[in-house]
Symmetry: C2
Subunit: 212 residues, 2 copies
């Protein structure tokens, strides 16, 4: 089972690494970090680079696509015809096509969310309608073989859900225990449905700056 | 505020990237990925490399140390005198010294967990006593300025806790919302206190293989 995780300059590391850590535990899975050109891709904070060992042309037909999000770099990727063309073709034969955070905007730009429910980072929700998708405020949204996840950290939940679909509930539980995913956030402000208005405003200001 | 995240061949990506994603949102924080030699460090799965932009000697006195875990590579790092010496000296002046997963064994080998309560990946809990530390089955264990976190994904909770200590509860909540950390795992098997015996046995077999 070939898994392709797309990276590009300006992606958000946890969007990619959350699903990677889960999916790399699947039996017979081979995870490939792919990008348009091989080499180092810098994250949106610029403090870190991940290496793409493979190019898009190395993996034309992955079984699973994972498209992470980011900020400005994601907007650029969503206009990159080489990336969009690869996604369209890979999606035609994939078993699963997934996104995390604003990675949904790249799937949307590739035209594969039209008429579907989808999710993305709460701060980017208004973009989804441009691509004919309907924003749904769930952490993980599955529509057939397409699964979109909400912001950044939600890729872990998405990948565990996907692991259950692929390898069964028992294996997914084993993976959850291997990564000791028994979350205990010290606060309860991880969703706009739960955070105080003042917290939402501060977070929105911080994130929107990153898109400008 | 200088944050040093140690990486080395065989580290677990999410151990490092979880705290990175949280701590890089702190005001005036500069995250540095550091290693003994600069360059690419391969994760324990071998499917991914992260780049260390800095060496240990570039960051002798970080304000915050983050030591991620892994499997075989962590055992090697815990015997590497250059790494241990850097940790000892950095810890002498740090404001916070933290570990994720088996990163605690590196802190232990550096001699800084003696007489303290600490946590690590559940599968490595028996190692802690070798370093004079007492394993505590909590997700995040704070002892003064030393904070240890449980397995892999727990670094996110640890870093949010730390963000609250450093920048206050409001800022930590803003960061939680930025990374949309409203976890909803599809199963409830992320802790040995919750998982079925059969799941624990399968996970233990899978993880222990990685240490051999």
């Amino acid at each position: 089972m070939d898994i392709a995780i797309l990276i590009y300059d300006g992606f958000t590391a946890l969007d990619a690494v959350g699903p990677y850590e889960v999916l790399s535990c699947l039996p017979n899975a081979k995870v490939h970090f792919v990008s348009k050109e091989p080499g180092l891709k810098r994250t949106h904070t610029k403090a870190l680079s991940l290496s793409a060992d493979y190019t898009l042309t190395d993996l034309p037909n992955p079984d699973i696509l994972v498209i992470p999000g980011g900020t400005r770099g994601t907007m650029a990727a969503a206009k990159d015809e080489t990336i969009l063309d690869w996604i369209k073709k890979a999606h035609a034969t994939s078993k699963w096509t997934t996104s995390v955070c604003t990675g949904a905007l790249i799937l949307g730009a590739a035209g594969i969310l039209r008429g579907l429910k989808a999710t993305t980072h709460w701060c980017a929700k208004d973009y989804l309608s441009q691509f004919g998708a309907e924003y749904t405020n769930d952490r993980v949204v599955q529509q057939g073989k397409i699964i979109t996840a909400a912001g950044v950290s939600s890729g872990i939940d998405m990948a565990l859900h996907l692991a259950g679909e692929i390898a069964g509930k028992e294996m997914a539980q084993v993976i959850q225990l291997i990564i000791e995913y028994d979350p205990k956030p010290p606060f309860d402000s991880g969703s706009i449905l739960k955070a105080d208005e003042s917290i939402i405003e501060l977070a929105e200001n911080a994130v929107k700056r990153e898109f400008e």
